[in-house]
Symmetry: C2
């Protein structure tokens, strides 16, 4: 299952001609649909990285230990004292063990790792974060907190952090700690609308059409409009003003524009760039969308999860000195 690949260190922390540093930590970024393992050296350098289709949803009969051995058994065998830190949905109720949510504010220094001993050696699970708003209604993240902490490690910059995706997360970092966050179901909403409503009947293919995307963002970014503007995807098509090749990109822009319109209510200072974490292609689209909304986006180097795991493990004192 585990297919290995050696990648250069992310974030430019490793000098080009240095010898490979000794591994200090095994970081697992373990979500619902994929498992990534990082062999991390001192200073947070990623020495090697592997991925497997071993997300929680793919694993039968709770065979988490077997999946981990498949991915990284050789690494673990080579160093019997290598500490293991796991972040992501693997620490949720339906994962290996539930690491209860920690209410914000929270940063690397106050994340109580949840440790299990039934793997033959300890595995430390990073807890997810929760936030309760002024109405007492909760929001949650799990896995993203580690990426945010990792991205912060690179730039040491307070401000807004954005992780686009199926469930897009926006977070505010203050003094290195996550002091606010919220979730937009933008990606999942797009898929549900495209595949299961009349809007999808207006669409052919899923090529990204920049002009249609930009048009959607520009129309979606008005406050208080998304519920009524969704239907424009259909109405424009009826008037032959949007073709079936463009319609999916337009709808995507409409939703992302609305996401930004709602999120910017929390942007205290629009002059500071927003740090974008995650898939570079999607990140680029968000950067474009932010720019249409008059905001600046900056893509953090890949590898934020590993850098976050190293930072959290360091703060928790589980690394060999």
């Amino acid at each position: 299952m585990g297919s290995g690949c050696i990648k250069p260190a992310a974030g430019g922390r490793m000098p080009p001609s240095a010898a490979l540093p000794r591994a200090a930590l095994l970081g697992l970024d373990w979500g619902t649909t994929s498992l990534r393992g990082y062999l991390i050296g001192s200073g947070g350098v990623v020495i090697a990285e592997r991925a497997a289709d071993a997300g929680i949803l793919q694993i039968k009969d709770r065979a988490f230990a077997a999946a981990l051995n498949d991915l990284a058994g050789d690494w673990l065998e080579a160093d019997s004292s290598l500490p293991i830190v796991a972040s992501g949905m693997i620490g949720a109720r339906q994962g290996w063990v539930e690491a209860p949510y920690v209410e914000i504010p929270a940063g690397a220094g106050n994340l109580p790792l949840h440790t299990i001993e039934d793997f033959g050696r300890p595995i430390h699970f990073v807890p997810g974060l929760s936030r309760h708003d002024e109405n007492g209604v909760p929001d949650v993240m799990r896995g993203e907190e580690t990426q945010i902490i990792g991205a912060y490690e690179t730039q040491m910059q307070d401000g807004l952090y954005l992780l686009p995706g199926s469930h897009s997360k926006w977070a505010r970092v203050t003094g290195g700690a996550i002091t606010w966050f919220t979730t937009f179901m933008t990606g999942e909403l797009f898929t549900a609308l495209k595949d299961h409503t009349i809007l999808g009947r207006m669409m052919a293919g899923s090529a990204h059409i920049p002009a249609a995307f930009a048009r959607g963002v520009a129309y979606g970014k008005d406050p208080n409009s998304i519920m009524q503007r969704l239907f424009s995807t259909r109405a424009l098509a009826l008037f032959d003003d949007l073709n079936e090749i463009e319609a999916a990109s337009y709808l995507s822009g409409l939703l992302i524009g609305s996401e930004i319109a709602e999120a910017r209510l929390f942007v205290p200072d629009t002059s500071a760039p927003i740090t974008i974490i995650g898939n570079p292609d999607l990140g680029e689209r968000y950067k474009t969308a932010l720019s249409i909304c008059g905001l600046e986006g900056y893509q953090t180097p890949v590898g934020a999860a590993a850098r976050g795991q190293w930072r959290i493990a360091t703060a928790a004192g589980i690394l060999a000195s």
Copy 2:
């Protein structure tokens, strides 16, 4: 196919002990999933009403004439000069004939009926309406214009008219004409979210739970919040603060609350009741939701489509004098 049923006249126009008036018009309310026929007397009284599962989507090979004969052949035979007016999606591109959209403002007096002669006698199709907003982006309705005109006939009251449903329509009537309208895909969005996103995994059954619905409305009605508040359905469940029986009603309330929050930006005077047209059960939920948002709703008597068809036919001069 056509199963007949005699119903008392809607709208209280027929004196209780009067003899059945002579039929003056056959009104067809013909949508994508159903066909309704109304035998309408002078003054707009519904003498008889029939329904068939003969929506446009169910009809094969454009057999519209056969479906109409199935539903109302005996009525048509009994009176060879009975005029026919059809409203709804039957006048769309994928229907019997396309009756092009008419840009608002539009009322009973300026709806150019689109007439075909290939049925042996004329059939007059009511056109749909279009609106282009300040960005030049269109919105459309088809069928609802007739219901709004019919509801207006009953009460002769300008104001906001609301037709809840799969594609909820809000319209402003001024001087008897529709001067503004917009579409919210609330019903279809609810179904897509319930059946095809992670939110549906939080749900069991589809019973209407009033307290959960009200809670959703109250949380959804804040402006600029729906994109980020959808996820509360999941987060509340994770914290055992919303159970699987309640979750669907909560989500429904959340969406309807957001719809009202956006729509109320167009409510010029919140002291006037909003006229609700359509399914009485759904109408009652919207009335509750409006009330939570500080607005008043009023359900118009059933039969608005037939009253609208009669009014439009009268204005067009196609009824026997």
